[in-house]
Subunit: 435 residues, 2 copies
Amino acid sequence: MAVQTVAGKSTSTSAENPQETPFGPAAALSCRECGTRYPLTPVFACLECFGPLEVAYDLPVGDPEGLRARIEAGPANIWRYAPLLPVPADVTQKQNLNPGWTKLVKADNLARELGVTGGLYVKDDSGNPTHSFKDRVVAIALEAARTFGLTTLSCSSTGNLAGAVGAAAARAGFRSCVFIPHDLEEGKVVMAAVYGGELVAIEGSYDDVNRFCSELIGDPIGEGWGFVNVNLRPYYGEGSKTLAYEIAEQLGWRLPDNLVIPIASGSQLTKIDKGLQELIKLGLVEDKPYKIFGAQAEGCSPVSAAFKAGHDVVRPVKRDTIAKSLAIGNPADGPYVLDIARRTGGAVEDVNDEQVVDAIKLLARTEGIFAETAGGVTVGVLKKLIETGQLDPAAETVVFNTGDGLKTLDAVSPTTGPTATIRPTVAAFREAGLA
Amino acid sequence: MAVQTVAGKSTSTSAENPQETPFGPAAALSCRECGTRYPLTPVFACLECFGPLEVAYDLPVGDPEGLRARIEAGPANIWRYAPLLPVPADVTQKQNLNPGWTKLVKADNLARELGVTGGLYVKDDSGNPTHSFKDRVVAIALEAARTFGLTTLSCSSTGNLAGAVGAAAARAGFRSCVFIPHDLEEGKVVMAAVYGGELVAIEGSYDDVNRFCSELIGDPIGEGWGFVNVNLRPYYGEGSKTLAYEIAEQLGWRLPDNLVIPIASGSQLTKIDKGLQELIKLGLVEDKPYKIFGAQAEGCSPVSAAFKAGHDVVRPVKRDTIAKSLAIGNPADGPYVLDIARRTGGAVEDVNDEQVVDAIKLLARTEGIFAETAGGVTVGVLKKLIETGQLDPAAETVVFNTGDGLKTLDAVSPTTGPTATIRPTVAAFREAGLA
């Protein structure tokens, strides 16, 4: 397992001295398809089979109680899980937005409305620094970029990621240059631009933006650039594992029965599964079955369509939904999502835009949580899964809100406003029928 | 000190058994002007002198180490300070949004730009559930309303409070009916309405809305209503003390030299001072001098004007600023703010709208924090205080961001957007001069 890390940066091995390597317990990159291993460098595709690379670890097995204690003594952010992430042990000393450790809200009111009797929780990632789960993945990618000596942080984005990259780069002292489709929500555009980096709008869809970034990375222009979701993708993806860790710890170190997770590229869902598996392997939680459910918007539901048709491949689709943060027509991790949903006994389901809006309002009205459209998709899908008998309401369920309603105001603003506008008198209040 | 709490609710006294009273260590309401004491009921003005009432405590003095340990073992929200707040000991069991324990960000980049050498921190309250400090004050007011058996939660609001009340009421199962000026930012209006309570827009300014609420509370319509910032104001205000507690604890149980705090009604600033004084009295921190600086927007700066003129009274003004969340022309706690600024050796300063926008962008560019206009006011004022020699840059300073940039997009959107819009090709990227 003596794998060299970055050429010229370190020759110590993670197995010998994990505290001193720049990637902590990470041992190598490994191809998800053929298992070929590579050093920890900014590469993302297997030279043998073009499969996606992911981080492989020498995890600290054998002392679950010591590890739990170490985690619990850590900071109230994702770095409490540094022993399980591809980051150096001194990561808490770096300038970083320190995302994570967001609330796991016991959602008794929502549970009542949906008929869930086994316990319902909302993992609310709107509490992150830029109010989406993207802060988690960017934080890990940024530390990798720092280790690799990259100086520009970049990404293709449906909006949330652009803000997360802009903010993280600003704080960490990186230049940033991010790429978005030209038709995003105003809140996301302003949030992507306000941190002072370069923001480039692309005339095309998110899939066009992605293709452009892949082209740019092969061009001399892209030298010294870390595209968090392209050449830093193996590191980036690991950030989503922290959602699994936090849920387990916040439940008192145990696993829920069901998890309802949104699908854009599918990366988040697959990494949450990876995180849950690690928790079991490390003995941090009891080994028990759990079911993973994927949630898509009907207007961009290639994975749901494949799941329902019983296919193993995901056919790309055009996107047409208000849930723009999930609108990836050709989701890279789609086949892995199908595997996980089937292996765990879960499902992939979708809801239409009207159901998304209704679900946003349902969550707000019952729990005081104003979710992004992506949160409307997961809550809407949870409702549909129960109604169609696909999810057992007597089991314990965690549903994810990965973003913030303030970024997708357009989805609810046509149907959300003052009950009345009146003159400032009690008589006017009475006349308006509000008394 | 045997003060009856709510008539018919409890006759135990806080001094005898603080754990079992509905208001914990709170002993009475006390007039800030003449000191007359009243039972803990939903009243807000002294019958003797019309002075404002505030909560008086029998605080747990004498065992600072035990108290510190108890706090540190508490939850990661304001309820860790329940021993110092007017709430029951079982408050963590209630349905509440559990705000607080937001990040205290070490702002080294901003410090460099401003020439601060003594250490600079941003207390970033945009991490609260509805992304402003108002969640803190509403949480306390809501628990008081629960104890008093009130069933409708209400407020007058410049926007942030409306969202905080709507969300908290939804989660806690209260009816809500909130009142806002008719010309608020879209984000704040939608956020106030999305939780499903009643939202009434008033044709007039915030001061008109306030007058209307005072009228409504005296009307039979208002029976059973808890206006968080009117009849529940004494409880509500106490929520701001938690900002002082958190800063001291996050600094390792010590006080900073300077605090730069926004002024709307002035309540927040006075309660932060109250919290700091309590920390000293309880022996939780070493007694040392600190300076409190108040920050206003030039377009609504009655307290700053009074401070500069050496007056003790605050003359009401008309409001004309983009910092709408601070735009209170007749600030109730203005005179107390003047007292505190003068007593501690601080100051009250103001900046114009252009400086507010510049400061929002400065904070975003340096620390990756996207502040509301109120945060632009405090950072802008900090800059001005340093430039004018009023604040010592060699001293340790905490500057407050009390809200979220996503709620005041209009302030920055005219000058914040994509660097370029291009076709998805490397050639177009090069042509745009971005390479």
